[in-house]
């Protein structure tokens, strides 16, 4: 990892001839017949894997690394990047149609996507998501290319206390953005954090909270939890109510309406995209909270905030634009600093290492062709997924009319194999079933399951950075409030948590 100044120099001093050679090599690789075939195949595989409840970018990439290991590095990263592009959109399909986010970064899409699907407007929501995702991704990648030299030092400005507060901001945002009780959602987020304390302590390395179960020594795995809380709980609810996802009206909704809704809201797409991208630049945390922050700011600025959560297409557009743009942002720390910006890019980072390429300043000079391949493959796969979304949305939307007597066993089957596939442990399948029960209870009580998942994602970061901060300060708690950026984070946390009070005050005034 280099200093910010070093990165500046490395980026700026890459000579033009090297830049042109690398760009030409990347173009030749991606736009060759084999390259295009691999982009199409990998994108479709990504959409498929992403649309299976619980599976997502990290799982797809980690399963593909052994498959691509023997390939030329450029082709290997073409496959991995195109898969990543496809996975993001695949996750939004299940988020809209089955109320099951492919991964945590798709979670905010469920808020309005699923209500739209229940109104028979699934295809409209998917079409809007496809356009917003594609636009967000292209915006994010453009910003990556343009602002890389300027913004890497900002990513390095975040120290441990700021990471700690950023995780707090993330959980507060999700609790406020979700429908239902803020207190219930904060409790759910706290339980999510608590779950990360099982297993090895990041401070002492000792084992804790395992109750004698060897299984818990490696902690609570994320994927079975997501599958149980969302896929299982949603299917049980459909079966218990004996209804399809969409009750009445047209099966597909109007695709063009979804496209138009997105195009008309282009300032929102750009605003959410830039916000998602900027949050994505922050290593580790940004990928998970970007879509929630974008969703919340659109909701709070809307004339009709109460319509959010009931099927407002703007909720889908904002969260999807931010979600796909954040990948361009998360590439900044991943490629320029060697610090993963999100869970998916963490796996991508390990793939670079396996291929003998070290992410960081040197990669931008010595492996520039591979960097360009990643960017081009992401651009191609995002354009392709937008097309797939537009053309295929009526087909995907048919899922909303499949009776639960067929949908439930099929999703159960995919959920069971998906929970097992990640680590190859049968106990993960049993854990998934347990979280299915919890998810159903939470669904019945209108408690945010997403808050619990985000707590589980961010909990490790909270503890790690909490203790690292104390180590830096020699045990002084003042470090959490001594840096300006920490103060900004605290103010943001308080401002976010004050939103319900402001809503209540506005409500009281209007009465």
């Amino acid at each position: 990892m280099g200093s910010p100044a070093g990165i500046h120099l490395t980026v700026l001093l890459v000579d033009l001839a090297q830049f042109e050679t690398a760009a030409a090599t990347a173009f030749g690789t991606v736009f060759s017949p084999i390259g295009l075939a691999l982009v199409v195949g990998a994108t479709l595989l990504g959409v498929t894997v992403g649309s299976i409840p619980g599976l997502g970018g990290p799982v797809a990439l980690s399963l593909l690394i052994p498959v691509t290991f023997e390939l030329d590095p450029r082709l290997a990263f073409l496959v991995l990047a195109a898969t990543l592009g496809g996975v993001n959109f695949g996750g939004s399909i299940t988020a809209v149609l089955l109320n099951t986010p492919g991964t945590a970064p798709n979670a905010a899409t469920t808020f309005d996507g699923f209500p739209l699907a229940t109104q028979g407007r699934g295809a409209e929501a998917i079409a809007a998501s496809a356009i917003a995702s594609g636009a967000g991704a292209l915006l994010g990648l453009s910003l990556f290319v343009l602002l890389l030299p300027i913004l890497t030092p900002i990513a390095l400005a975040f120290w441990s206390p700021e990471y700690f507060w950023l995780a707090v901001v993330g959980i507060a945002t999700i609790a406020v953005a979700s429908d239902g009780s803020v207190i219930d959602d904060l409790i759910a987020g706290g339980v999510g954090i608590a779950l990360t304390f099982h297993g090895v302590s990041t401070v002492t390395g000792g084992i804790r909270y395992t109750a004698g179960f060897q299984y818990l020594q490696s902690g609570v795995p994320l994927v079975p939890v997501i599958i149980g809380l969302f896929a299982i709980a949603q299917m049980v609810e459909l079966f218990a109510t004996d209804t399809t996802v969409a009750d009445g009206g047209s099966i597909a909704g109007d695709r063009l309406r979804g496209v138009k809704a997105t195009l008309v809201r282009w300032p929102m797409v750009i605003g959410s995209g830039v916000l998602g991208w900027a949050i994505g630049v922050i290593p580790g945390v940004g990928g998970t909270v970007a879509n929630f922050v974008a969703y919340l700011q659109v909701k709070e600025r809307a004339d009709d905030p109460d319509s959010f959560g009931e099927g407002n297409i703007a909720g889908v557009i904002a969260s999807e634009a931010a979600n796909d743009a954040k990948d361009g942002g998360s590439l900044v720390p991943t490629l320029a600093l060697g610090i993963p910006g999100s869970a998916s890019t963490a796996v991508l980072l390990s793939a670079f290492l396996l291929h003998g390429l070290t992410p960081g300043p040197l990669l931008l000079s010595e492996g520039l062709d591979v960097v360009f391949v990643v960017l081009l493959a992401l651009v191609c796969s995002n354009v392709l997924t937008s097309a797939v979304g537009l053309v295929g949305s009526p087909v995907f939307a048919k899922v909303t009319r499949v009776p639960p007597s067929i949908l439930l066993p099929v999703v159960f089957g995919l959920a069971v194999i998906g929970a097992f596939a990640v680590r190859g442990r049968a106990a993960d399948v049993a854990l998934m079933a347990g979280f299915g029960l919890l998810g159903y209870a939470m669904r019945r009580l209108d408690v945010s399951r997403i808050a619990l998942v985000i707590g589980l994602v961010l909990g490790g970061l909270v503890e790690e950075n909490f203790h690292r901060s104390l180590q830096i300060s020699g045990g002084e708690y003042g470090i959490f409030v001594s840096r300006p950026l920490s103060i900004v984070m605290i103010v943001v946390s308080v401002a976010v948590l004050a939103i319900p009070l402001r809503r209540a005050y506005r409500g009281a005034l209007s009465e």
Binding site: D184, F197, I232, R423, L501
Partner: protein, 169 residues
Amino acid sequence: MFPPSADRLRTHGAQRIRYGYYTAVVAYLGSWVVVARAYRPDTRLLPIAVAVGILGLVALRAAATRLGIVGGGLATDPTSDDGRDPDTRRALAAFGWLAGLVSAGIVVGFVPGILVVVTAFVARYDRPRRAAVVGPTTAAAVYVLFVLLLELPPYDPVVARLLGGGFGG
């Protein structure tokens, strides 16, 4: 939306789930505070802080419900009403089938388990003719995607271990 009796039953059911949920949360985190006493101070610091914070929020939630404070989404009404009336017996039956699927996967392998349980479920709740299509198609799709394409980690089910050989998946 619902007949009064059904509405009352539903509210009663939701209340029971709520009490069960918060009892579980309090028991889970309360036990942490007790167990944590055996750990080093720096290991238990954050877990105890989080547990105490959540328990405080649970107390605040209980107070908000009792005092009827529901403003601004800080705390909402205990029963959410999305217009659909879940049948608890059907929900329990679904979890029973899930338990059957998990058990079948562990005993005979996940792909054969999916074939058997998906077919049986569709035959029970839909039509046997559809079951003959949906079950094998799901199992085949799972086999192609997970076993062939994504190279699923090998798993020897109980039956294979008892018979002294492994047949994976």
